[in-house]
Symmetry: C2
Subunit: 137 residues, 2 copies
């Protein structure tokens, strides 16, 4: 990925940008699913590993570290042998879950439309560049 980030000036400000700016990484492959799997109770590593279907051990660790670093969940180690580690959603993590609601519902309700749009797009590959509309906007 690139290196310069370049967040600056005030033009083109909008809700989209605000959400992006923070860099909370619901965008990556696993954060959202791990956070979802975590649920409202506290869970151990293996438990999460089994809950998130298809994730590799490595990516579970990486994702959990991100969530911890951002303060979205807590990690408690018990110095026993074999070791035990508990993961639990923090207050901040719970508030995020609330905020996620609308966009999640949006995704659920519009999923079909989007998939249809994609199918149409992929079929017609925009061979004629849509309808040659003369009316400018």
């Amino acid at each position: 990925m690139g290196k310069q980030v370049n967040y600056a000036q005030g033009h083109n400000t909008g809700d989209f940008e605000l959400a992006r700016e923070i860099h909370f990484r619901l965008g990556d492959r696993w954060t959202a699913e791990v956070a979802a799997a975590l649920g409202d109770r506290c869970m151990r590593f293996k438990e999460l590993y089994r809950s998130v279907d298809g994730i590799s051990q490595r990516m579970l660790v990486v994702t959990l570290r991100h969530l911890e670093r951002d303060g979205l969940m807590t990690r408690r180690i018990y110095p026993t042998v074999p070791p035990r580690v508990d993961y639990e959603r923090s207050a901040l993590g719970r508030s995020l879950k609330e905020a996620i609601g609308p966009i999640a519902r949006w995704a659920a309700t519009n999923r079909q439309k989007i998939e249809e749009s994609r199918r149409y797009f992929d079929m017609n590959v925009r061979k004629a560049g849509a309808s040659p509309n003369t009316r400018q906007c």
Copy 2:
């Protein structure tokens, strides 16, 4: 990146997963910013190019294609010379903007907390594994 996607069964279902499932790519580097730049009026390519600070021409094209493919905006070509192309947010795109609101506000209000959490985490690098808490949850 990996190849198998493996969305399946019903466990660990939650709002997070729903949002992810759809694969609308607010997660990638530019989608959100381009969508924000697009605003509520209709814009030409060059206009968008100037509006989104730091984006390359290539990535603007790629991002716009994604948005078009998902049906989040429309693209109108005028067969003139030099060519003219207008981009405009679709109804679906507008509804997404609505849905984004809460999470955007969440990001804005909790940004400080997250950054602080990151600083703390990066300093202490979890050298002692947090407090050795004996109480299990």
